[in-house]
Symmetry: C2
Subunit: 221 residues, 2 copies
DNA sequence: CGTCGGCGCACCGGCTGGTTCCGGCACGCA
DNA sequence: TGCGTGCCGGAACCAGCCGGTGCGCCGACG
Protein backbone atom coordinates (compact mmCIF):
# COMPACT_ATOMS: atom_id res chain seq x y z
CA UNK A 1 0.00 0.00 0.00
CA UNK A 2 2.85 2.37 0.71
CA UNK A 3 4.85 3.64 -2.15
CA UNK A 4 8.29 4.90 -1.19
CA UNK A 5 8.63 7.99 -3.29
CA UNK A 6 12.29 8.39 -4.06
CA UNK A 7 11.88 11.80 -5.61
CA UNK A 8 11.19 14.49 -3.06
CA UNK A 9 10.40 17.64 -4.90
CA UNK A 10 11.90 20.50 -2.92
CA UNK A 11 9.18 22.99 -3.58
CA UNK A 12 8.64 26.11 -1.55
CA UNK A 13 8.16 23.61 1.21
CA UNK A 14 8.01 19.84 1.15
CA UNK A 15 4.57 18.32 0.73
CA UNK A 16 2.48 17.67 3.78
CA UNK A 17 2.40 13.92 4.23
CA UNK A 18 -1.01 12.58 5.19
CA UNK A 19 -2.61 9.39 6.39
CA UNK A 20 -6.36 9.02 5.89
CA UNK A 21 -8.55 7.18 8.36
CA UNK A 22 -12.19 6.55 7.53
CA UNK A 23 -14.15 3.33 7.59
CA UNK A 24 -16.06 4.23 4.42
CA UNK A 25 -13.95 3.06 1.49
CA UNK A 26 -15.82 5.25 -0.95
CA UNK A 27 -15.30 8.51 0.88
CA UNK A 28 -11.72 7.49 1.59
CA UNK A 29 -11.12 7.01 -2.12
CA UNK A 30 -12.85 10.30 -2.73
CA UNK A 31 -10.66 12.12 -0.26
CA UNK A 32 -7.55 10.59 -1.76
CA UNK A 33 -8.60 11.65 -5.24
CA UNK A 34 -9.35 15.11 -3.95
CA UNK A 35 -6.13 15.55 -2.00
CA UNK A 36 -3.99 13.99 -4.72
CA UNK A 37 -5.07 16.81 -6.96
CA UNK A 38 -4.10 19.40 -4.39
CA UNK A 39 -0.61 20.89 -4.51
CA UNK A 40 1.56 20.52 -1.45
CA UNK A 41 -0.36 17.55 -0.11
CA UNK A 42 0.65 13.94 -0.40
CA UNK A 43 -1.44 11.02 0.81
CA UNK A 44 0.98 8.37 2.01
CA UNK A 45 -1.43 5.89 3.55
CA UNK A 46 -5.02 4.88 4.16
CA UNK A 47 -6.60 3.16 7.14
CA UNK A 48 -10.11 1.86 7.56
CA UNK A 49 -9.90 1.25 11.28
CA UNK A 50 -8.53 2.93 14.35
CA UNK A 51 -5.97 0.23 14.96
CA UNK A 52 -4.64 0.45 11.43
CA UNK A 53 -4.46 4.22 11.71
CA UNK A 54 -2.32 3.97 14.83
CA UNK A 55 -0.04 1.44 13.17
CA UNK A 56 0.35 3.52 10.03
CA UNK A 57 0.96 6.67 12.00
CA UNK A 58 3.81 4.95 13.82
CA UNK A 59 5.28 3.37 10.73
CA UNK A 60 5.02 6.31 8.35
CA UNK A 61 5.17 9.22 10.82
CA UNK A 62 3.10 11.48 8.59
CA UNK A 63 2.64 15.15 9.28
CA UNK A 64 -1.10 14.83 9.66
CA UNK A 65 -3.61 12.06 10.22
CA UNK A 66 -7.03 12.92 8.85
CA UNK A 67 -9.32 11.13 11.26
CA UNK A 68 -13.01 10.35 11.18
CA UNK A 69 -14.51 9.87 14.63
CA UNK A 70 -17.12 7.25 13.76
CA UNK A 71 -15.28 4.10 12.81
CA UNK A 72 -17.80 1.30 12.98
CA UNK A 73 -16.33 -1.44 15.10
CA UNK A 74 -13.15 -1.61 17.16
CA UNK A 75 -11.06 1.31 18.30
CA UNK A 76 -13.02 4.51 17.89
CA UNK A 77 -11.65 7.74 16.48
CA UNK A 78 -11.12 9.40 19.81
CA UNK A 79 -9.14 6.53 21.22
CA UNK A 80 -7.06 6.28 18.06
CA UNK A 81 -6.37 10.00 18.30
CA UNK A 82 -5.29 9.62 21.90
CA UNK A 83 -2.89 6.81 21.08
CA UNK A 84 -1.41 8.51 18.06
CA UNK A 85 -0.66 11.76 19.84
CA UNK A 86 0.58 9.93 22.90
CA UNK A 87 2.82 7.49 21.04
CA UNK A 88 4.24 10.10 18.69
CA UNK A 89 4.78 12.59 21.43
CA UNK A 90 2.73 15.11 19.54
CA UNK A 91 4.86 15.05 16.43
CA UNK A 92 2.05 13.47 14.41
CA UNK A 93 -0.87 15.86 14.36
CA UNK A 94 -4.40 14.54 14.20
CA UNK A 95 -6.97 16.57 12.30
CA UNK A 96 -10.46 15.32 13.00
CA UNK A 97 -12.75 15.37 9.96
CA UNK A 98 -16.21 14.20 10.85
CA UNK A 99 -19.89 14.84 10.36
CA UNK A 100 -21.14 15.69 13.81
CA UNK A 101 -20.46 18.79 15.84
CA UNK A 102 -21.83 17.49 19.10
CA UNK A 103 -20.46 18.97 22.30
CA UNK A 104 -19.46 15.55 23.54
CA UNK A 105 -17.58 14.63 20.37
CA UNK A 106 -15.72 17.92 20.17
CA UNK A 107 -14.73 17.86 23.80
CA UNK A 108 -13.53 14.29 23.75
CA UNK A 109 -11.55 14.80 20.57
CA UNK A 110 -9.78 17.91 21.79
CA UNK A 111 -9.16 16.31 25.15
CA UNK A 112 -7.63 13.36 23.32
CA UNK A 113 -5.10 15.64 21.68
CA UNK A 114 -6.60 16.48 18.30
CA UNK A 115 -4.95 19.46 16.65
CA UNK A 116 -8.05 20.46 14.75
CA UNK A 117 -11.71 19.64 14.28
CA UNK A 118 -13.33 20.04 10.89
CA UNK A 119 -16.78 19.17 9.59
CA UNK A 120 -17.34 17.28 6.39
CA UNK A 121 -19.93 19.87 5.50
CA UNK A 122 -17.16 22.46 5.29
CA UNK A 123 -15.96 23.83 1.99
CA UNK A 124 -13.04 21.83 0.56
CA UNK A 125 -10.62 24.77 0.57
CA UNK A 126 -11.19 25.00 4.30
CA UNK A 127 -9.94 21.45 4.40
CA UNK A 128 -6.76 22.32 2.56
CA UNK A 129 -5.91 25.26 4.78
CA UNK A 130 -6.80 23.26 7.87
CA UNK A 131 -4.44 20.51 6.78
CA UNK A 132 -1.56 22.94 6.42
CA UNK A 133 -2.42 24.52 9.75
CA UNK A 134 -2.48 21.15 11.44
CA UNK A 135 0.84 20.19 9.84
CA UNK A 136 2.33 23.30 11.39
CA UNK A 137 0.80 22.41 14.72
CA UNK A 138 -1.68 25.25 14.65
CA UNK A 139 -5.18 24.59 15.90
CA UNK A 140 -7.84 24.58 13.21
CA UNK A 141 -11.51 24.63 14.10
CA UNK A 142 -14.25 25.10 11.56
CA UNK A 143 -16.72 27.87 12.26
CA UNK A 144 -19.63 25.87 13.72
CA UNK A 145 -17.23 23.99 15.95
CA UNK A 146 -15.64 27.18 17.19
CA UNK A 147 -19.06 28.54 17.98
CA UNK A 148 -19.94 25.51 20.01
CA UNK A 149 -16.72 25.70 21.95
CA UNK A 150 -17.37 29.32 22.76
CA UNK A 151 -20.96 28.62 23.76
CA UNK A 152 -19.82 25.83 26.04
CA UNK A 153 -17.29 28.14 27.65
CA UNK A 154 -20.01 30.67 28.35
CA UNK A 155 -22.54 28.27 29.85
CA UNK A 156 -20.59 25.30 31.15
CA UNK A 157 -22.96 22.38 30.97
CA UNK A 158 -21.96 19.82 33.60
CA UNK A 159 -20.57 16.65 32.07
CA UNK A 160 -21.81 13.23 33.08
CA UNK A 161 -19.62 11.27 35.47
CA UNK A 162 -18.42 7.79 34.56
CA UNK A 163 -20.89 6.20 36.90
CA UNK A 164 -23.73 8.19 35.45
CA UNK A 165 -22.74 7.08 31.97
CA UNK A 166 -22.88 3.49 33.21
CA UNK A 167 -26.39 3.98 34.46
CA UNK A 168 -27.42 5.77 31.30
CA UNK A 169 -26.00 2.97 29.22
CA UNK A 170 -28.12 0.39 30.97
CA UNK A 171 -31.12 2.66 30.80
CA UNK A 172 -30.68 2.93 27.04
CA UNK A 173 -31.04 -0.83 26.88
CA UNK A 174 -34.52 -0.41 28.23
CA UNK A 175 -33.78 -1.92 31.61
CA UNK A 176 -35.88 -1.11 34.66
CA UNK A 177 -34.35 0.41 37.77
CA UNK A 178 -34.28 -2.95 39.47
CA UNK A 179 -32.50 -4.54 36.53
CA UNK A 180 -29.99 -1.73 36.30
CA UNK A 181 -29.31 -2.16 39.99
CA UNK A 182 -28.69 -5.87 39.52
CA UNK A 183 -26.53 -5.32 36.47
CA UNK A 184 -24.29 -2.83 38.28
CA UNK A 185 -24.45 -4.43 41.76
CA UNK A 186 -26.17 -1.46 43.31
CA UNK A 187 -29.19 -0.75 45.41
CA UNK A 188 -32.23 0.20 43.43
CA UNK A 189 -32.34 3.36 45.48
CA UNK A 190 -28.89 4.31 44.29
CA UNK A 191 -29.91 3.86 40.69
CA UNK A 192 -32.78 6.24 41.24
CA UNK A 193 -30.47 8.79 42.76
CA UNK A 194 -28.10 8.66 39.82
CA UNK A 195 -31.00 8.90 37.43
CA UNK A 196 -32.21 11.99 39.22
CA UNK A 197 -28.81 13.61 38.81
CA UNK A 198 -28.71 12.59 35.16
CA UNK A 199 -32.11 14.15 34.59
CA UNK A 200 -30.81 17.36 36.06
CA UNK A 201 -27.76 17.47 33.85
CA UNK A 202 -29.60 16.53 30.68
CA UNK A 203 -32.51 18.79 31.52
CA UNK A 204 -35.19 16.13 31.24
CA UNK A 205 -37.51 14.53 33.76
CA UNK A 206 -38.27 11.09 32.41
CA UNK A 207 -36.23 8.06 31.45
CA UNK A 208 -37.46 8.09 27.88
CA UNK A 209 -36.35 11.69 27.51
CA UNK A 210 -32.95 10.84 28.93
CA UNK A 211 -32.47 8.05 26.41
CA UNK A 212 -33.54 10.37 23.62
CA UNK A 213 -31.00 13.10 24.37
CA UNK A 214 -28.34 10.52 25.13
CA UNK A 215 -28.72 9.08 21.63
CA UNK A 216 -29.08 12.53 20.16
CA UNK A 217 -25.92 13.92 21.72
CA UNK A 218 -24.01 10.73 21.16
CA UNK A 219 -23.20 10.37 24.83
CA UNK A 220 -23.05 6.59 24.61
CA UNK A 221 -20.60 4.46 22.62
CA UNK B 1 -43.86 17.85 -17.79
CA UNK B 2 -42.45 14.94 -19.73
CA UNK B 3 -40.62 15.98 -22.80
CA UNK B 4 -40.69 13.47 -25.62
CA UNK B 5 -37.19 12.40 -26.31
CA UNK B 6 -37.14 11.59 -29.98
CA UNK B 7 -33.75 10.03 -30.23
CA UNK B 8 -32.39 7.54 -27.72
CA UNK B 9 -28.82 6.88 -28.70
CA UNK B 10 -27.63 3.34 -28.00
CA UNK B 11 -24.37 4.56 -26.61
CA UNK B 12 -21.66 2.37 -25.32
CA UNK B 13 -19.10 5.08 -25.70
CA UNK B 14 -21.00 8.04 -24.33
CA UNK B 15 -20.33 8.85 -20.69
CA UNK B 16 -22.87 8.28 -17.97
CA UNK B 17 -24.04 11.70 -16.85
CA UNK B 18 -24.29 12.07 -13.10
CA UNK B 19 -25.62 14.50 -10.53
CA UNK B 20 -24.24 14.24 -7.01
CA UNK B 21 -26.36 14.95 -3.97
CA UNK B 22 -24.75 15.07 -0.53
CA UNK B 23 -24.91 17.74 2.13
CA UNK B 24 -21.24 17.30 3.04
CA UNK B 25 -19.26 19.53 0.72
CA UNK B 26 -16.02 17.71 1.44
CA UNK B 27 -17.26 14.26 0.52
CA UNK B 28 -19.06 15.76 -2.47
CA UNK B 29 -15.81 17.22 -3.69
CA UNK B 30 -14.13 13.92 -3.00
CA UNK B 31 -16.69 11.99 -4.99
CA UNK B 32 -16.39 14.41 -7.87
CA UNK B 33 -12.62 14.06 -7.89
CA UNK B 34 -12.97 10.30 -7.75
CA UNK B 35 -15.57 10.04 -10.49
CA UNK B 36 -13.88 12.61 -12.71
CA UNK B 37 -10.92 10.28 -12.84
CA UNK B 38 -13.10 7.36 -13.87
CA UNK B 39 -13.63 6.67 -17.55
CA UNK B 40 -17.15 6.66 -18.87
CA UNK B 41 -18.49 8.81 -16.06
CA UNK B 42 -19.18 12.49 -16.19
CA UNK B 43 -20.34 14.55 -13.23
CA UNK B 44 -22.62 17.24 -14.60
CA UNK B 45 -23.95 18.72 -11.40
CA UNK B 46 -23.76 18.85 -7.59
CA UNK B 47 -26.50 19.45 -5.07
CA UNK B 48 -26.21 19.91 -1.32
CA UNK B 49 -29.93 19.64 -0.60
CA UNK B 50 -32.86 17.54 -1.66
CA UNK B 51 -34.62 20.45 -3.28
CA UNK B 52 -31.59 21.36 -5.33
CA UNK B 53 -31.17 17.75 -6.39
CA UNK B 54 -34.72 17.62 -7.68
CA UNK B 55 -34.24 20.88 -9.56
CA UNK B 56 -30.96 19.75 -11.10
CA UNK B 57 -32.39 16.38 -12.04
CA UNK B 58 -35.18 18.11 -13.93
CA UNK B 59 -32.95 20.66 -15.57
CA UNK B 60 -30.06 18.42 -16.56
CA UNK B 61 -31.86 15.08 -16.94
CA UNK B 62 -28.78 13.08 -15.96
CA UNK B 63 -28.62 9.32 -16.31
CA UNK B 64 -28.07 8.82 -12.61
CA UNK B 65 -28.47 10.83 -9.44
CA UNK B 66 -26.11 9.69 -6.70
CA UNK B 67 -28.13 10.36 -3.59
CA UNK B 68 -27.24 10.42 0.08
CA UNK B 69 -30.20 9.74 2.35
CA UNK B 70 -29.21 11.92 5.28
CA UNK B 71 -29.39 15.51 4.11
CA UNK B 72 -29.42 17.65 7.21
CA UNK B 73 -32.37 20.01 6.95
CA UNK B 74 -35.18 20.27 4.44
CA UNK B 75 -36.22 17.61 1.95
CA UNK B 76 -34.69 14.30 2.94
CA UNK B 77 -33.11 11.86 0.54
CA UNK B 78 -36.08 9.54 0.35
CA UNK B 79 -38.48 12.31 -0.50
CA UNK B 80 -36.08 13.73 -3.07
CA UNK B 81 -35.79 10.27 -4.61
CA UNK B 82 -39.54 9.96 -4.76
CA UNK B 83 -39.93 13.29 -6.53
CA UNK B 84 -37.15 12.69 -9.00
CA UNK B 85 -38.38 9.31 -10.13
CA UNK B 86 -41.96 10.55 -10.20
CA UNK B 87 -41.25 13.73 -12.11
CA UNK B 88 -38.91 12.10 -14.57
CA UNK B 89 -41.19 9.15 -15.14
CA UNK B 90 -38.35 6.87 -14.21
CA UNK B 91 -35.99 8.08 -16.88
CA UNK B 92 -33.65 9.55 -14.26
CA UNK B 93 -32.37 6.73 -12.08
CA UNK B 94 -31.55 7.35 -8.45
CA UNK B 95 -28.69 5.39 -6.94
CA UNK B 96 -28.68 5.73 -3.17
CA UNK B 97 -25.21 6.00 -1.67
CA UNK B 98 -25.35 6.23 2.08
CA UNK B 99 -23.80 5.06 5.32
CA UNK B 100 -26.57 3.13 7.00
CA UNK B 101 -28.08 -0.18 5.99
CA UNK B 102 -31.04 -0.04 8.34
CA UNK B 103 -34.15 -1.93 7.34
CA UNK B 104 -36.22 1.20 7.53
CA UNK B 105 -33.89 3.20 5.30
CA UNK B 106 -33.59 0.50 2.68
CA UNK B 107 -37.29 -0.15 2.53
CA UNK B 108 -38.23 3.48 2.27
CA UNK B 109 -35.64 4.16 -0.41
CA UNK B 110 -36.67 1.26 -2.60
CA UNK B 111 -40.32 2.05 -2.08
CA UNK B 112 -39.54 5.61 -3.18
CA UNK B 113 -38.24 4.32 -6.47
CA UNK B 114 -34.49 4.08 -6.00
CA UNK B 115 -32.80 1.97 -8.66
CA UNK B 116 -29.98 0.91 -6.36
CA UNK B 117 -28.74 1.10 -2.79
CA UNK B 118 -25.04 1.24 -2.08
CA UNK B 119 -23.06 1.70 1.11
CA UNK B 120 -20.26 4.20 1.44
CA UNK B 121 -18.23 1.45 3.05
CA UNK B 122 -18.28 -0.43 -0.23
CA UNK B 123 -15.20 -0.69 -2.41
CA UNK B 124 -14.99 2.12 -4.96
CA UNK B 125 -15.08 -0.22 -7.97
CA UNK B 126 -18.41 -1.47 -6.72
CA UNK B 127 -19.49 2.11 -6.99
CA UNK B 128 -18.43 2.36 -10.61
CA UNK B 129 -20.19 -0.80 -11.69
CA UNK B 130 -23.27 0.16 -9.69
CA UNK B 131 -23.37 3.50 -11.46
CA UNK B 132 -23.32 1.84 -14.85
CA UNK B 133 -25.95 -0.64 -13.74
CA UNK B 134 -28.17 2.14 -12.49
CA UNK B 135 -27.71 4.08 -15.72
CA UNK B 136 -28.98 1.03 -17.59
CA UNK B 137 -31.91 0.77 -15.22
CA UNK B 138 -30.64 -2.39 -13.60
CA UNK B 139 -31.04 -2.75 -9.86
CA UNK B 140 -27.79 -2.59 -7.90
CA UNK B 141 -27.67 -3.58 -4.26
CA UNK B 142 -24.45 -3.93 -2.32
CA UNK B 143 -23.95 -7.20 -0.53
CA UNK B 144 -24.95 -6.24 3.04
CA UNK B 145 -28.05 -4.52 1.71
CA UNK B 146 -29.03 -7.55 -0.34
CA UNK B 147 -28.61 -9.70 2.73
CA UNK B 148 -30.89 -7.49 4.75
CA UNK B 149 -33.51 -7.53 2.08
CA UNK B 150 -33.44 -11.30 1.96
CA UNK B 151 -33.58 -11.55 5.74
CA UNK B 152 -36.56 -9.25 5.83
CA UNK B 153 -38.31 -11.36 3.23
CA UNK B 154 -37.77 -14.44 5.33
CA UNK B 155 -38.94 -13.01 8.63
CA UNK B 156 -41.20 -10.11 7.79
CA UNK B 157 -40.93 -7.77 10.72
CA UNK B 158 -44.13 -5.74 10.89
CA UNK B 159 -43.59 -2.09 10.08
CA UNK B 160 -44.88 0.65 12.35
CA UNK B 161 -48.06 2.36 11.27
CA UNK B 162 -48.15 6.15 10.85
CA UNK B 163 -50.05 6.55 14.07
CA UNK B 164 -47.57 4.44 15.94
CA UNK B 165 -44.74 6.55 14.61
CA UNK B 166 -46.57 9.60 15.90
CA UNK B 167 -46.79 8.11 19.34
CA UNK B 168 -43.20 6.98 19.24
CA UNK B 169 -42.10 10.44 18.20
CA UNK B 170 -43.75 12.02 21.21
CA UNK B 171 -42.38 9.30 23.45
CA UNK B 172 -38.89 10.08 22.21
CA UNK B 173 -39.40 13.63 23.45
CA UNK B 174 -39.72 12.22 26.92
CA UNK B 175 -43.42 12.92 27.27
CA UNK B 176 -45.58 10.95 29.65
CA UNK B 177 -48.63 9.04 28.41
CA UNK B 178 -50.92 11.79 29.56
CA UNK B 179 -48.89 14.41 27.74
CA UNK B 180 -48.74 12.35 24.57
CA UNK B 181 -52.50 12.00 24.75
CA UNK B 182 -52.92 15.75 25.06
CA UNK B 183 -50.45 16.44 22.27
CA UNK B 184 -52.23 14.13 19.85
CA UNK B 185 -55.78 14.76 21.09
CA UNK B 186 -56.25 11.21 22.25
CA UNK B 187 -57.35 9.39 25.33
CA UNK B 188 -54.53 8.33 27.57
CA UNK B 189 -55.86 4.80 27.25
CA UNK B 190 -55.38 4.92 23.50
CA UNK B 191 -51.82 6.01 23.88
CA UNK B 192 -51.18 3.02 26.09
CA UNK B 193 -52.72 0.69 23.55
CA UNK B 194 -50.54 2.02 20.78
CA UNK B 195 -47.50 1.78 23.00
CA UNK B 196 -48.33 -1.82 23.71
CA UNK B 197 -48.44 -2.58 20.00
CA UNK B 198 -45.21 -0.68 19.45
CA UNK B 199 -43.52 -2.74 22.15
CA UNK B 200 -44.62 -5.86 20.40
CA UNK B 201 -43.30 -4.78 17.05
CA UNK B 202 -40.01 -3.49 18.40
CA UNK B 203 -39.63 -6.44 20.75
CA UNK B 204 -39.16 -4.40 23.90
CA UNK B 205 -41.24 -3.98 27.02
CA UNK B 206 -40.41 -0.54 28.34
CA UNK B 207 -40.67 2.99 27.00
CA UNK B 208 -36.97 3.61 27.38
CA UNK B 209 -36.22 0.52 25.37
CA UNK B 210 -38.59 1.64 22.65
CA UNK B 211 -36.85 5.00 22.39
CA UNK B 212 -33.50 3.26 22.25
CA UNK B 213 -34.31 0.99 19.31
CA UNK B 214 -36.22 3.79 17.61
CA UNK B 215 -33.10 5.93 17.61
CA UNK B 216 -30.96 2.96 16.75
CA UNK B 217 -32.97 1.90 13.74
CA UNK B 218 -33.55 5.46 12.62
CA UNK B 219 -37.31 5.06 12.74
CA UNK B 220 -37.80 8.73 13.55
CA UNK B 221 -36.94 11.73 11.39
C1' DC C 1 -71.27 -10.01 3.05
C1' DG C 2 -67.54 -11.50 5.93
C1' DT C 3 -63.28 -10.42 7.98
C1' DC C 4 -59.18 -8.27 8.71
C1' DG C 5 -56.13 -4.53 10.00
C1' DG C 6 -55.89 -0.15 12.02
C1' DC C 7 -57.57 2.96 15.45
C1' DG C 8 -59.61 4.46 19.70
C1' DC C 9 -61.38 3.64 24.51
C1' DA C 10 -62.29 1.92 29.55
C1' DC C 11 -60.86 -0.25 33.69
C1' DC C 12 -57.71 -1.82 37.14
C1' DG C 13 -54.01 -3.35 40.14
C1' DG C 14 -49.19 -3.62 40.95
C1' DC C 15 -45.22 -1.61 41.48
C1' DT C 16 -42.12 1.41 39.23
C1' DG C 17 -40.39 5.78 39.15
C1' DG C 18 -39.25 10.23 40.91
C1' DT C 19 -38.29 13.06 44.92
C1' DT C 20 -35.98 14.28 49.12
C1' DC C 21 -32.73 13.81 52.54
C1' DC C 22 -28.58 11.84 54.41
C1' DG C 23 -23.72 9.85 55.25
C1' DG C 24 -19.14 8.45 53.73
C1' DC C 25 -15.04 9.12 51.03
C1' DA C 26 -11.35 11.07 48.42
C1' DC C 27 -9.15 14.99 47.07
C1' DG C 28 -7.36 19.67 46.91
C1' DC C 29 -6.11 23.68 49.45
C1' DA C 30 -4.94 26.87 52.91
C1' DT D 1 -5.02 19.67 60.50
C1' DG D 2 -9.32 21.31 59.23
C1' DC D 3 -12.49 22.67 55.64
C1' DG D 4 -15.05 22.63 51.32
C1' DT D 5 -16.34 20.22 47.29
C1' DG D 6 -17.63 16.60 44.15
C1' DC D 7 -18.91 12.02 43.51
C1' DC D 8 -20.94 7.83 45.04
C1' DG D 9 -24.16 4.99 47.52
C1' DG D 10 -28.33 4.51 50.24
C1' DA D 11 -33.29 4.82 52.81
C1' DA D 12 -37.95 5.98 52.87
C1' DC D 13 -42.14 7.64 50.89
C1' DC D 14 -46.03 7.91 48.03
C1' DA D 15 -48.34 9.43 43.96
C1' DG D 16 -49.73 7.96 39.96
C1' DC D 17 -47.91 6.00 35.91
C1' DC D 18 -47.58 1.99 33.27
C1' DG D 19 -48.75 -2.04 31.18
C1' DG D 20 -52.21 -5.66 30.30
C1' DT D 21 -56.60 -7.09 28.73
C1' DG D 22 -60.93 -6.82 26.54
C1' DC D 23 -63.94 -4.41 23.40
C1' DG D 24 -66.26 -1.60 19.69
C1' DC D 25 -65.99 1.10 15.37
C1' DC D 26 -64.60 1.90 10.84
C1' DG D 27 -62.95 1.35 6.08
C1' DA D 28 -60.68 -1.63 2.72
C1' DC D 29 -60.67 -5.62 0.37
C1' DG D 30 -61.88 -10.18 -1.24
Amino acid sequence: MTRPDPVKLPEEAASVRIVLCDDHAVVRAGLRALLDSAPGIEVVGEADSGAEAVALAMKLTPDVVLMDLQLGVGLDGVEATRRITAASGGSVHVLVLTTYDTDADITRAIEAGATGYLLKAERPDELFTAIHSAAAGRTALSAPVAHRVMARMRSPRPALTDRERDILGQLARGLTNRDIAKALYLSEATVKTHLGRIYGKLDVDTRAGAVAVAKEQRLLP
